[in-house]
Symmetry: C2
């Protein structure tokens, strides 16, 4: 028997009606002869409600007790989904994280899965029972209930799929798949049939937001085939896997973008102080993205880096505080910027992609303020006012060559 | 170090404010140098809310999935109470039923505790950590989450007190203790200082409702001293134990009563058919209370028994259906009756108690329709209209001899 792991997020199980609908999706796949493990998140806003209960008690709840509290959310979902499956006449059983054999690190709030003992799950699957597992949670070696942190249910699903050697892992969300870019911004954006793990990672990190990077990383490491699809609309989603079918695929897979970027420039820096600066910023939890340095005639360095605009105040404070240790001349910054990235594995063997990106932007009179490249991504920082125009032009230039894919069934 | 187990019911932890108050009660006892295990129920109406979620899915949820669902209620309470204790500066930890080492039968919905491994709890207590345990729940040998059924949190608390050889087990409720009778009906009713397990059992079964009979039974078998007390008012409650201080104690400890009683009489029955009748009624889940039989001149039997009036329709139907097997002449019934019971261990050595009860009722012109006696209880069935008058007269006759106890602090 082939197994399929299906993951349903909070919105998908947000009400009694939705849970009934999810039960139908599970049954449909079960009727195709697959052994089904359904991983579910907490219902809709129930996690927020639990968090606000805790906030009523204290503004500094211990992570251990928060895990104890929050894991009830998924426990409620799994029991309700299982009741729905049973009421529709199917054998089903719910399992908490620890009952499902999920062992994690001894960390609260963001533990990593260290092992999955699938014996209990397998025994139910062999009998044809649908297994409903609580996402986001596990058990440490000390018999403590732990949670996996943000995107935890995705990780649970992918890890179970890996451990069970499942045929694939379906991630049901409130979007129909992975799009070439945000369809709310670019009307020609279309859903991709396939995307590679690395491309998905770049898109996810850049804010596509449908699949947690940790889960994609896990899927990549264990070669688990994912499908991102809608729990509302009945159509094929986007397959995420290692090697994609290159036919009819463009070099660029997607265009990601991000608003609220600020560029900070430190002038007259001594070369040796670079690591000092970034360690200090890291310990202040300031996320630095693109970094550029240029050497001046005087032998000192001009250093520019991009940050989220929300971190500007903190960044300037940290730089001022550590002025002596860093030994620089001056600090400047530019607000109201945006970052646009084109992502695609095809770039590796197509060196003209970056050039095409720059010329496309140039034709629109968009000035490029920073550039960063990786094997499968080129990112540029531009003026925020040019963001939509830039993304539309890039989508037209890179993505419009192929026919928009028509959804099947 | 001496241990105290404290049990807080749903009303006591019904809101954030109440949980903060419960934390203070726990801390107060902890500050007296005791090792504290606090057992808590689900918050206020949260169990009802979970039940109605399940009802939205199906009207026949499996007991196993109901246990999975309902046990989240206590898990939420224990985490919140623990956060409150920590926020007030005390070391505390929450434990689910299975983490607390509570093993039960492999039954869902009403499992009995079979074993408690206190190793984990003891290790925390030794370090001075307050342990907060989820009531009502345990784990079966098959690693299934189970619940203990009605009054389950009381049972958890008493069982933990027995396993830990605790000094006592405090049951915090929304009443200040055990009363001589219902103070809403008899204004002279007063709180008892002490009561024996057996007296408490008779009173609890008769509807005093502050402590579950199963928990009292458990306390009796393991000699656990209980105190029923209020989580709202700061005063001594009622101690429940094996041997009570007899000084200043009356023979009768309390007067319990129950409304909505119906007497059913089966006439012309063959002696040998008695067991048939009660097996058939039992299998129809009809609870029969007082049973009286009288032998007629014809050698047949007249059988009378009391039931709750709600069961009358079902009882008559069952008797009619099985008329042939039971082989009786006719069935009669009388509605609108009530039962009054006087309870007290002192009766055993005071044979005049029943006589005093009858004469007291006679003086009020109350006709006694049925009588039943046990070693520590005399029950009579009377007309419902005479209930309040009867209870008041009995309270005056048996209970008013001693000074009403004044609450301390």
């Amino acid at each position: 028997m082939e197994f399929i792991v299906q993951k349903f997020g909070g919105t998908s199980v947000g009400s009694i009606e939705r849970i009934q609908h999810v039960a139908d999706l599970v049954i449909e796949e079960h009727e195709r002869g697959h052994g089904i493990v359904a991983v579910v998140s907490a219902m809709g806003h129930s996690t927020d409600e639990l968090v606000s209960l805790a906030a009523g008690i204290t503004d500094q709840p211990s992570k251990r007790e928060m895990d104890m509290l929050l894991t009830t959310g998924e426990q409620i979902s799994i029991s309700l989904l299982t009741m729905a499956l049973q009421a529709k006449g199917y054998a089903a059983i719910s399992l908490t994280g620890w009952q499902a054999g999920i062992t994690t690190e001894s960390v609260h709030g963001s533990a990593r899965i260290t092992d999955i003992n699938t014996k209990r799950i397998q025994s139910y699957l062999q009998k044809g029972t649908i297994v409903v597992v609580a996402g986001f949670q596990g058990l440490s070696a000390e018999q403590e209930i732990t949670t996996l942190g943000r995107g935890g249910s995705d990780t649970t699903a992918v890890a179970l799929a890996a451990a069970l050697k499942a045929k694939k892992c379906d991630i049901y969300t409130d979007v129909t798949g992975v799009y070439t870019t945000d369809p709310r911004v670019v009307k020609d954006a279309y859903k991709l049939d396939e995307i590679s793990y690395d491309e998905m990672l770049e898109l996810a990190n850049l804010g596509a937001g449908v699949l947690h990077p940790r889960a994609v990383e896990f899927a990549k490491n264990h070669n688990v085939i994912l499908e991102v699809r809608s729990s509302m609309k009945h159509e094929n989603g986007t397959i995420v896997r290692g090697e994609c079918n290159m036919e009819q695929q463009s070099i660029v897979k997607g265009i990601a973008f991000e608003d609220n970027i600020t560029r900070v420039t430190i002038k007259g820096l001594h070369q040796g102080k670079l690591s000092t600066i970034f360690s200090i910023l890291a310990s202040a939890h300031i996320n630095v993205d693109i970094i550029i340095q240029s050497i001046t005639n005087e032998g000192t360095v001009h250093l520019s880096f991009s940050i989220h605009s929300n971190d500007l105040k903190e960044t300037l404070a940290v730089l001022e505080e550590n002025r002596e240790a860093m030994h620089y001349e001056s600090v400047e910054y530019e607000n109201h910027l945006a970052k646009v990235s084109i992502v695609g594995s095809g770039m590796v063997s197509n060196p003209g992609v970056a050039a095409q990106m720059f010329s496309t932007l140039q034709e629109e009179n968009i000035h490029i303020k920073m550039v960063s490249t990786s094997e499968i991504k080129v990112s540029v920082v531009i003026d925020r006012l040019n963001l939509v125009k830039g993304v539309e032009a890039l989508h037209e230039s890179f993505m419009a060559k192929i026919e928009p894919l028509v959804s099947v069934n």
